[in-house]
Amino acid sequence: MNLYTYASPANFYRLAGKLIPWFAWGAGILTVWGLYISFFMAPTDFQQGEAYRIIFIHVPAAWMSMFIYMVMAFWGAIGLAFNTRLSFMMARALAPTGAMFTFVALWTGALWGKPMWGAWWVWDARLTSELILLFLYIGIIALWAAIDDIRRGDRAGSLLTLIGAINVPIIYFSVKWWNTLHQGSTINLMKAPSMAKIMLLGMLVLAIAAWFYTIAVALVRVRRVILERERQTEWVKAILEKEN
């Protein structure tokens, strides 16, 4: 057995089945811990009062919206380059969760913007590029749904994902490149974070929880895609019979 063993859908199906409960429980426990920090340990912000507590979901959701897109683009590129079936299935399994987190990032941003800026929405670079990301997710999902031929659909959707990937660095650097109403990044790899340690901890714990959640739901979804696509094989028939 080696690493390539799991490139086979049959083996990956079993592996995913074993991993799902761990990630699901991990996500649950981390969420409870993260929310406890966010509401009962983190102090009131001296500038924004309690309104800043939206940061604990806004920032992890915004991170996930970009990370998931990049992971999708990665799997799409691998699939296009090596024609590996499982890569395309992974890309498809991630898209709905990415769209969900993008929506949450926009929604929580609007509810934070209203009390802080006095506006639910402004057409500045950060907000607009994040909205484009939501449209990209929806467009890719719709494209996949519209093409019945699985191989063609996989390729078309992944190509669109790769072209749209140019938007992710634009979102990330938008607060630097343009004068935006949106504040700059609180966390930067190059310098010390500009927020209290306990606030940072709450945000990071919820970000890891979001990762665990994403992995768990993506694995459930990829298992479903595998079953559908491999339905003619003996191993899928054996699995379905066992469940009867």
Binding site: V104, L111, R221
Partner: protein, 57 residues
């Protein structure tokens, strides 16, 4: 801890609507995704089993 009482907690220093509107929609988003996914997975298994039984006959 910043809260003297539960009503203090729900009020969130006057920002309750914005905070709970954010957390509520996030929870709803996650729940909707999980429920839809569970339903779709069950439906896939059901239809595959039906097809399988049909082929066997």
């Amino acid at each position: 801890m910043e809260w003297a009482s539960w009503s203090d907690f729900w009020n969130m220093g006057g920002y309750g609507l914005y905070i709970w509107g954010s957390y509520g929609v996030t929870v709803a988003g996650v729940l909707i995704e999980v429920i839809l996914l569970k339903r779709a997975s069950a439906e896939t298994r059901r239809s595959l089993k039906r097809m399988q039984q049909w082929e066997e006959q």
